[in-house]
């Protein structure tokens, strides 16, 4: 069990209270979070997994033993430490004037050089898995941000003004919901194309890790599309919160003293909707990570450094090299389990009263 009691340390608490102000959480909410965290081993495990994933993603160039894109065909399909791979070499030689074919069975052993083995092109699996965390988390977080920004804006407006605007939104949300997010994402990415953005890697720039890739590829289309196909969930939650808040006395009072709609929405409605939105956003990061890996698996991705992409590659070598498809999948499961555990923690502590919406493939 990872010891995470440092989160309760004064310094961390200071950070927590600053976060609290930024998100306008009440002291009671923060106390609930802390009590629930202290009580639940699963919450600690979840936070531990996410902190690990974030560190791995942030320091990928420093942690990866090899350049994840370097191919080495001499060392392809090396098994992970502790495993062997059987291979058959066919040679032919002349014996008494006739050609004899000899099948020789040999063993490929693992090396400490590649602790998790290599893929079909001899690329280091450990390094690829480490870099894959970057893609997953960046797509998950930015995609959720786009979905939340768009969805919450639309939902708050609809819920606050209600009437025609609301009707129009809810009907378009129904239409959106009729398309499974994976189907819509596949269609959009497939039809728009997989544009990507290359971002210089700060570690390489600073000369700290000269052997690593100089740029990191962000799958631009994918990020935008996964955000766009998931906004409806945020719109629904924000709308129902806005609907319930707008009938409160203090909103009527604010309106009576002449506060502008904009002021009321940003100062009163939004802060009161923030808890369920935070919980939903957590679940959505998990859903979007799963969605990204599915898109990459189907070949609709702008980057090759993705867990889903590696699983698709490894699938072709399933009978000879099981680890190529297995390892990235384990990484996905661990990350998503971590996020879901944190989501459960937040839900138990904040009790926003929403069902398990969102979901993944």
């Amino acid at each position: 069990m990872v010891d995470l009691d440092w989160l309760l340390h004064p310094v961390a608490s200071g950070a927590l209270s600053r976060l609290r102000e930024a998100l306008r959480l009440s002291p009671r909410t923060v106390r609930n979070l802390r009590t629930e965290f202290r009580r639940s081993a699963l919450a600690k495990l979840g936070v531990g997994l996410i902190v690990c994933a974030l560190l791995v993603a942030a320091f990928a160039p420093a942690l990866a033993p090899h350049n994840p894109t370097n191919q080495n065909l001499n060392d392809n399909q090396l098994p992970p430490l502790g495993f062997d791979r059987q291979t058959t070499n066919t040679t032919s030689k002349m014996v008494n004037g006739s050609i004899e074919i000899v099948n020789e069975t040999s063993w490929v052993n693992s090396t400490g050089e590649h602790p998790l083995g290599t893929d079909s092109l001899g690329r280091d699996m450990l390094s690829r898995t480490i870099y894959g965390a970057r893609t997953s988390l960046i797509v998950g977080v930015i995609g959720t941000g786009i979905a939340a920004l768009f969805g919450v804006t639309v939902g708050l407006l609809a819920g606050y003004y209600s009437g025609r605007i609301d009707d129009a939104l809810m009907r378009s949300a129904d239409v959106m919901l009729a398309f499974p997010s994976l189907v819509l994402a596949v269609a959009l990415v497939g039809l728009i194309g997989t544009a990507s953005v290359r971002v210089p890697d700060p570690f390489v720039r600073a000369g700290l890790t000269p052997n690593m890739p100089e740029t990191f590829t962000l799958p631009g289309t994918v990020i935008i599309v996964v955000g766009l196909v998931n906004w409806v969930w945020f719109a629904r939650v924000a709308r129902s919160e806005a609907l319930s808040v707008r009938s409160e006395e203090y909103i009527k009072a604010a309106r009576a003293v002449g506060a502008s709609d904009r002021h009321i929405v940003t100062r009163h409605v939004l802060p009161n909707s923030i808890t369920p939105i935070i919980v939903l956003a957590t679940i959505q990061v998990a859903a979007i990570i799963l969605l990204e890996s599915a898109l990459a698996f189907l070949g609709f991705s702008g980057t090759t450094l993705s867990w889903g992409f590696d699983i698709a590659q490894g699938r072709q070598y399933l009978s000879s090299s099981w680890w190529i498809a297995t390892i990235p999948g384990v990484a996905i499961v661990l990350t998503v389990v971590g996020i879901n555990l944190v989501g459960d923690w937040l839900r138990d502590a904040l009790d926003p009263g929403i069902e398990g919406e969102g979901g993944g493939p």
Binding site: P180, F297, I311, A325
Partner: protein, 353 residues
């Protein structure tokens, strides 16, 4: 709840559903105009002249104003016409509906697996709280909702098909109905009894293994488990928390106070009330099931609508893309309406609201 109000409720839902389907058709139609690339470039040869391109566009009706194309498309749809596939030169609707049964079969099989496993598991988990079965179910549902199903499918293939050879790795045998018909036609109970009596186990297994229904089962097991696991986990989770919630309510105590047997308290009262909200969430998650079917089909080379859609997208075969998306969207709306009806049946308050 009277029958009249239930009927009116369902009618209202059905009318709403029709409007949503219309919205689906419109969005799918507009998709062609908001995504980059002219369909003609994908159809015409690379060295085609401007004149040839114009002729192709005219032949496909792509040169007409957008509202004419839209009305024309709507009119066609109402007669079941989705246009001709650009690539294979068959009717798009024929291709779509030829592929639909495989997808429906997969989705239904996965749902059956999920419902049959998850609801009992959730109930047991809630009624035996803090016992090993509860911890097991909680762990399973946590990992189940966190596992990408395509990876799960590959792992199942790796273990059960590649390592142990228990199941075929991919493809679909015959459909369910032909398999049933074939089995009924060729099944010979006398032979089975004779082989069993003579203790010829291997021959018996070989005979049974060749029955179409068994082949069907062998082909569908891994895809159905792959697609169903997420839902099994999700419904287990929801059933468990819902049951715990219901069992803590006062009416449960009141039911016990009047002497009702525990099974009646649990199943007729608590479980029934748990199922209504569970069904709501499952209805909302149906899209995930269909999306999951698309990727499961890709893993197992299952000849369904999903593989067809991906192929059509890669080839920009617009009539086929539109047809598949409309069938998927409309199918979701129809099933969702049925789910609403089931929920109204289970919980009369839904109609009252």
């Amino acid at each position: 709840m009277t029958t009249v109000s239930l009927g009116r409720f369902l009618l209202k839902r059905a009318v709403q559903g029709v409007f949503v389907i219309w919205g689906v058709v419109t969005v799918v139609f507009l998709l062609r105009f908001i995504t980059p690339g002219d369909p003609v470039t994908f159809i015409a040869p690379l060295d085609a002249s401007q004149e040839l391109r114009r002729r192709i566009a005219a032949e496909l009706g792509l040169n007409r104003p957008i509202y004419v194309q839209y009305l024309d498309y709507l009119a066609g749809l109402l007669q079941g016409d989705m246009g001709y596939s650009y690539i294979s030169n068959t009717e798009a609707s024929a291709r779509v509906f030829a592929r639909l049964p495989a997808t429906v079969e997969l989705a239904v099989a996965a749902t059956v697996v999920a419902v049959a496993l998850s609801i009992p598991l959730g109930v047991v988990s809630a009624t035996r709280r803090h016992e090993p079965v509860d911890y097991g179910a909680t762990l399973f549902s946590l990992v189940g909702i966190s596992t990408p199903n395509f990876w799960l499918g590959i792992m199942l293939v790796l273990l059960l098909a590649v390592q142990f050879g228990l199941f075929p790795t991919s493809q679909r045998g015959t459909g369910f109905l032909p398999a049933v018909a074939g089995t009924v036609g060729q099944f010979d109970p006398g032979l089975v009894v004779r082989l069993a009596v003579e203790l010829r186990g291997e021959a018996l297994l070989a005979y049974l293994g060749k029955l179409p229904l068994v082949t069907w089962l062998a082909h569908i097991t891994l895809p159905a488990v792959t697609l169903g696991t997420y839902f099994t986990a999700l419904i287990t989770r929801l059933t468990r928390s819902g049951m715990l919630d219901e069992l803590g309510k006062s009416y449960i105590r009141a039911s016990r106070a009047k002497g009702l047997p525990e099974s009646l308290v649990r199943y007729k009262h608590a479980l029934r009330n748990t199922l209504a909200p569970v069904i709501t969430v499952v209805g909302l998650q149906l899209g995930t099931l269909i999306g999951g079917a698309v990727i499961t089909e890709a893993v197992f080379a299952w000849p369904g609508l999903g593989t067809e859609l991906i192929r059509a997208i890669n080839l920009r075969d617009w009539p086929l893309i539109q047809g598949s998306l409309i069938v998927i969207g409309a199918g979701f709306v129809v099933v969702n309406t049925l789910v609403d009806a089931l929920q109204a049946y289970l919980d009369p308050r839904v109609v009252a609201d």
